[in-house]
Amino acid sequence: MTCLVDQFRPEVGESVVNVLERLGVEVDFPEGQTCCGQPAFNSGFQSEAREVARHFLDVFDATEGPIIVPSGSCGAMVRKFYSEMFEGEAAERERARCVGERIYEFTEFLVDVLGADDLYTDLGPHMEDTATYHQCCHLERELGVDHQPAELLGRVKGLEMLPMYRSEVCCGFGGTFAVKFADVSTAMLDEKLDNAAATGASTIVAGDTGCIMHMAGGLRRRGSDQQVRHIAEILDEATGPGDQANGAPA
C-alpha cells in the first residue's frame, strides 16, 4: 500500500483489498511498511531516500508472492529507480531487483496476471455513472501501463466512459513541484480540470493517489461537483454488493 493511501485515502486501500479478495487472492499487509522513498529521491535527497528504500526492501524481502501497489509512481520507483540508487552496492541491487520483479501496479496485476476475464465473468461489474479517465504520468510513461485501466473501465456495465481532451497531459502534481512551483503547477491543474469539466462526466478516474489528491484539492477549491476517484474504488463499487454505495465495508 502506498504511504499516501495509508494516510490520506485509506478507502482506496480497502477497495484494493476488496477487489482482490473477491477474485480469490489472499491479501496481506506487512505492518512494517512506510514509504518507498520516492518523494526524497525526486527532490534530490538520495541519501535519505536510500535509507527509506532499504527499509522498504527489508520489509518486502521477507515476504513472498506478488506485491501490488495502487500507484504507478511507487511502482516505478521500486522497479526502475532502486537499482539506480543502489549503484555500487551489488547485494542491495540484487535485493532491489528481486523485489522489483514482484511489484505490480494494481490494474497491471488484474489484467496481465489474473486476466481481466475472470473479473468480468465471475463478478459482472456494474455501476451507473459517467466517468472520464486521467492518464497518470508515471503509470503511463514510467511503467507503460497504458491500456489496462481503460480496458477494465470499458467493461464495467452501465459506466459510460467519456473521452477527455489531452487526457495524457500531466495534471501538474509532480510531488514537491506542486509546492515549489505552485504557479506553474496551478496553471497545469487548471487546464486539466477545465478539460475534465468539459467532458460533463460526474467522476474523474485516475490511478495514482498523488494526482487524485491534487485534482481533488483543485475541484474542492473550485466548488465543483465533479469527484475524483481511484480506479480501485470504481471497480470495488462495481463488483460489490449493491447496497455498498461507497465501497467501504459496513
Binding site: 504511504c3 495509508d6 494516510q7 490520506f8 485515502r9 485509506p10 486501500g13 480497502e14 483489498v17 499487509f29 505492518e31 511498511q33 512506510t34 514509504c35 522513498g37 518523494p39 526524497a40 529521491f41 525526486n42 527532490s43 534530490g44 535527497f45 538520495q46 541519501s47 535519505e48 535509507e51 527509506v52 527499509h55 504520468c137 508515471h138 503511463e140 510513461r141 514510467e142 495524457e168 497531459v169 500531466c170 501538474g172 502534481f173 509532480g174 510531488g175 513541484f177 506542486a178 509546492v179 515549489k180 512551483f181 505552485a182 504557479d183 506553474v184 503547477s185 496551478t186 496553471a187 497545469m188 491543474l189 487548471d190 489528491m213 481533488a216 484539492g217 483543485g218 474542492r220 477549491r221
Partner: protein, 476 residues
C-alpha cells in the same frame, strides 16, 4: 549569451500572466506536437527508426574523438579550414578576426543555436560589422532584441499584430499587414542584404564525418542563399552534431524533420562540401568550420548526462512539455528552453545559478516520449537535482529548512510506529483548522499547495489500522 537562469520563477509568473503568449503557446501543442504525432503514426517502422537513430548517436558520441578527427581531415581535404573552439570566447574571436582580415562589412546569418550561445550578432555589431539574421523568426527576434523562444520557432511567442507593429516601426510599412505581406516585406529587406553580404555564418544540423560535408535544414531557403552568395562562409557547430556516414545522415534527417515539424522532408536540405571548386559557378571562396565545445565535454564526461549530446535540437520535447507551454521560452534564461534546456543550460552555463531549472518539472515523461532519440530527460533532471543537494560544494545549494524537512521525513519513515504516530499527530493538530476534512490554507513550506488547492487532513484511521481491524474481525 549571459545566462539569466536564476530568474525562472519570476519569468514563469510573468509569462503566465501574459494572455498573448499563452495563446501562442497553444499553437505549439496543436500544431507542432500533433503534427509530429501524426507523422510518426504515418511512418512505417517509426519506432524502429527512432531506435536506429539513437544507436547512431550512441555510437558516434562514444567515438567522438575518432569522428571529429575524420571530419577535420575531410574538411581540410575539401579545401576548408577547421577551428576547434574550447569556449564561446575563442569561437567569437576566431570569427571576428577572420571578418576583419577579409575586410567584411556585412554578415548574413542563418539559424544557429551555437551562435546564440556566443551572442555572435551582438559581438559583431559591437565591432561595427552589420549582422543580419535571415531566418524570418530570428529576424523578428533580432528586431525585438530578444533571445529565441523556441529551438525551431524562435518568434513563436509573437503575435501577428506585434510583428506587424515592429516592422512598421523599423521600415515604415503599414502596421495592418497580413502574414503574407509581412513575409514579402521581410523578403524584400533581406534580399537587398543578401546582395551586399561578404560573409555568412550558418549553423550546422549535421556534419558528415566520412565526406566532410555539412548539412543545413531550413524551410525558407535562406540557408541556401547564405551558403552560396557571400565570398566567405563560416559554419558553426556544437561538437556533438556529427554523424559518421551519408547513410546515417539519411536516417537522421528523416527523424529530425518529422519530429521537428511533422513534415516528411523540409523544403530545403542544403549540403556544403567546402569552398567553391574551380569548375563550380556558385559557392564561397572560403569555407571555415568552427567546432565548439563550450561545456559539452562536461556532458560527455558524465555518464548520467552524456545522452544530452544525442540531441538533434528538433524541439519535440518543448512542444510536448506542459511546463514549457505554460512558462514559455524566456523563463529558462539562456539559449535552450524547455526540457532539454533544463538539462543543457545548467551544465553549459552554470548549475548553481540555474539550480531551479532541474526542479521545474513534474517529471511527467512527455519529453522522453516525444524525443526521436528517446533521451531520458527526466532521469537527467533527477541527476542534476541530486547534484544540487549532494553534489560538490561549488554546485550545492539547498536551504537549511529543506534539509531539515527531509531529515525529519527520513526519521519518520524508518519505523512504522513513527510513521503511524506522525500521521496521528498531524491529524490531531490539524483537526481544529480543517473544514470538512481539508485545509484551505497551511503555513510554509506547504503554503504553495493551498494557494489553489485544498489539502486533505490525514485520515483519523489510516489504512494500516483498518486492515488490522478487518483481519481480527475476519479471522478472530
Amino acid at each position: 549569451m549571459l545566462p539569466k537562469t536564476e530568474r525562472f520563477k519570476q519569468g514563469a509568473r510573468e509569462t503566465l500572466a501574459d494572455p498573448v503568449i499563452q495563446e501562442s503557446m497553444e499553437a505549439v501543442y496543436n500544431g507542432f506536437h500533433t503534427n509530429r504525432q501524426s507523422a510518426g503514426q504515418a511512418t512505417e517502422g517509426w519506432d524502429a527508426q527512432r531506435d536506429r537513430g539513437r544507436a547512431i548517436k550512441e555510437h558516434t558520441i562514444a567515438n567522438l574523438d575518432y569522428y571529429l578527427e575524420m571530419l577535420t581531415d575531410k574538411v581540410d581535404a575539401n579545401g576548408g579550414n577547421v577551428f576547434f573552439a574550447e569556449d564561446t570566447a575563442a569561437a567569437t574571436e576566431y570569427i571576428l578576426d577572420l571578418a576583419r582580415a577579409r575586410d567584411v562589412k556585412t554578415v548574413i546569418k542563418s539559424k544557429s543555436m551555437v551562435s546564440e550561445e556566443m551572442s555572435l550578432a551582438h559581438e559583431m555589431e559591437a565591432v561595427g560589422i552589420e549582422a543580419v539574421e535571415t531566418d524570418l523568426g530570428e529576424y523578428i527576434i533580432q528586431l525585438a532584441g530578444e533571445a529565441p523562444y523556441h529551438i525551431i520557432a524562435p518568434a513563436i511567442h509573437k503575435s501577428q499584430d506585434q510583428v506587424a507593429e515592429m516592422f512598421a516601426e523599423t521600415t515604415g510599412t503599414d502596421p495592418g499587414q497580413t502574414p503574407e505581406e509581412l513575409t514579402t516585406t521581410a523578403r524584400g529587406m533581406l534580399r537587398e542584404t543578401f546582395q551586399r553580404a561578404d560573409m555568412s555564418v550558418t549553423g550546422v544540423n549535421f556534419a558528415v564525418a566520412e565526406s566532410g560535408s555539412i548539412v543545413l535544414v531550413t524551410n525558407e531557403g535562406n540557408g541556401r542563399m547564405c551558403t552560396s552568395i557571400p565570398r566567405v562562409h563560416v559554419a558553426v557547430m556544437g561538437m556533438e552534431k556529427i554523424v559518421p556516414s551519408m547513410q546515417d545522415l539519411g536516417m537522421m534527417l528523416r527523424i529530425l524533420i518529422r519530429s521537428a515539424t511533422g513534415q516528411r522532408i523540409s523544403s530545403y536540405v542544403t549540403m556544403v562540401n567546402g569552398p567553391r571548386r574551380d569548375e563550380e559557378e556558385d559557392g564561397p571562396e572560403e569555407f571555415h568550420l568552427v567546432i565548439v565545445d563550450n561545456g559539452r565535454m562536461r556532458l560527455l564526461a558524465d555518464p548520467n548526462l552524456r545522452e544530452a549530446l544525442y540531441c538533434l535540437r528538433c524541439g519535440a520535447c518543448l512542444n510536448a512539455c506542459p511546463v514549457y507551454r505554460k512558462v514559455g521560452g524566456h523563463s529558462y534564461g539562456w539559449v535552450y528552453p524547455g526540457p532539454i534546456g533544463a538539462v543543457v543550460s545548467p551544465v553549459l552555463s552554470g548549475l548553481k545559478q540555474a539550480k531551479d531549472l532541474p526542479f521545474a518539472s513534474s517529471l511527467c515523461g512527455a519529453c522522453r516520449e516525444a524525443c526521436p532519440v528517446r533521451i531520458d530527460i527526466p532521469n537527467m533532471l533527477l541527476h542534476l537535482r541530486h547534484q544540487v543537494v549532494e553534489g560538490p560544494r561549488e554546485v550545492r545549494s539547498v536551504g537549511r529548512v529543506e534539509r531539515l524537512v527531509w531529515k525529519a521525513w527520513r526519521f519518520g519513515n524508518m519505523k512504522p510506529g513513527r510513521f503511524r504516530t506522525g500521521g496521528k499527530i498531524a491529524n490531531l493538530l490539524g483537526r481544529p483548522f480543517a473544514r470538512g476534512g481539508t485545509f484551505r490554507r497551511v503555513p510554509p513550506p506547504l503554503s504553495g499547495w493551498t494557494r489553489s488547492r485544498d489539502l486533505p487532513l490525514p485520515a483519523s484511521t489510516p489504512f494500516r489500522d483498518r486492515f488490522k481491524k478487518r483481519r481480527s474481525r475476519g479471522r478472530g
